[in-house]
């Protein structure tokens, strides 16, 4: 269970060591990809708690969502429409939904354990 957290720390350390920098104009793509990744992570946690977790769905969701969000932002910039806003709103809403579900499940578990 602690392995993913370790992985996160490991990734952060690697990121600092690599010292990559994204140019300003591509920074929005990365941020939206990051948002998609976070959404997938929370979705994974939720499905894990709901015991409907599937690795393939999780993996494909992570990569597909990330790439699709970045691609949407790119197409939006290409067309002159701020499409990345749509992705941000959608992922944001899903993120909060997932968080709410996770919180509820954990609360229920805690209350049922107490009783």
């Amino acid at each position: 269970m602690w392995l993913p957290v370790l992985g996160l720390v490991f990734g952060i350390v690697i990121g600092f060591l690599l010292d990559w920098r994204v140019p300003q104009e591509y920074s929005s793509y990365l941020s939206i990809a990051l948002l998609a990744g976070l959404d997938t992570i929370f979705g994974g946690i939720r499905s894990y708690l709901e015991r409907t977790f599937n690795v393939r769905i999780f993996m494909s969701g992570f990569f597909f969502n990330t790439l699709f969000a970045a691609g949407l932002a790119f197409i939006g910039a290409f067309l002159g429409i701020d499409l990345y806003l749509a992705a941000i709103v959608a992922f944001g809403v899903r993120l909060f939904n997932n968080l709410a579900v996770i919180r509820r499940i954990i609360l229920y578990k805690w209350i049922s354990q107490k009783e």
Binding site: P4, G11, I12, G15, W20, R21
Partner: protein, 250 residues
């Protein structure tokens, strides 16, 4: 079940690592944005184009100001010719009588003379009383005086404050005498700029005193070192004449 669980944990770890990398990259690029590489080639090209245009316009400015500078420099040279022209203009105006002038000269007054008894006795049969009173100074006498003054080198002459210029007419209109369009009344007073001695002796030589004695007038000569002759006051219009253009003139 365990290997599957491990597999899941492994995948989750990898994905977490990827997300961590993305997070840090995003963080770093937001904290220290790269500005130099954020411009595309076309952007740089348009910027270069703009700078080139600016350079060109600055060059044009330089040449413009150089030209202006050159003009001012030449203007400094031609300044002399302008002053010469101004001098010439003022000289011409002085000659034409359009400005008041002063200098040494003579004042000639034609005043009523008290009848001298002995002279009356001498010329008694020549000039009867009727004759004397009937003889009036006319325009011709004044013209003669003015001409004599000019002939004796007067540079500026005025009659009762009216400047006499080259086109001035002195003529009888009815009972009075007009200088140009202004009436003049006796006593008549000429002011002439010139050598006073020459002017006075010239008039005397012409017999001005004798001439005006006939009209029972006396001539009073007065020399002056500082005499002011006024400017010609009437409007001069140029009519009936045009400068003849010779071929060399522009």
């Amino acid at each position: 079940m365990l290997p599957k669980n491990r597999k899941i944990a492994f995948i989750l770890t990898i994905i977490s690592a990827i997300i961590g990398i993305m997070l840090t990259v995003q963080l770093r690029s937001n904290l220290h944005p790269i500005k130099a590489e954020s411009r595309s080639v076309s952007e740089l090209r348009t910027t270069l184009q703009k700078e080139l245009e600016k350079h060109k316009s600055l060059l044009a400015d330089i040449s413009k100001y150089n030209q202006l500078f050159y003009q001012y420099e030449t203007a400094l040279d031609t300044d002399e010719s302008v002053s010469v022209m101004k001098e010439e203009l003022s000289r011409t105006r002085r000659l034409a009588g359009l400005v008041s002038v002063e200098g040494k000269g003579a004042v000639i007054r034609i005043v009523d003379a008290p009848p001298l008894p002995e002279q009356a006795a001498v010329d008694g049969d020549l000039m009867s009383g009727d004759n004397q009173t009937s003889y009036q100074i006319d325009d011709e006498d004044l013209r003669w005086v003015a001409n004599s003054l000019f002939a004796n080198g007067a540079k500026a002459v005025s009659l009762n404050g009216h400047r006499l210029i080259s086109t001035t007419a002195i003529r009888s209109v009815g009972q009075s005498i007009q200088v140009d369009t202004k009436f003049v009344q006796p006593p008549y007073e000429f002011k002439a700029l010139g050598e006073p001695d020459v002017l006075i002796s010239g008039l005397k030589l012409e017999g001005i005193e004798e001439n005006f004695q006939l009209a029972n007038k006396k001539i009073v000569f007065e020399e002056s070192d500082r005499l002011v002759v006024p400017a010609y006051s009437e409007q001069r219009t140029i009519r009936f004449m045009k400068p003849v253009k010779s071929k060399g003139d522009q």
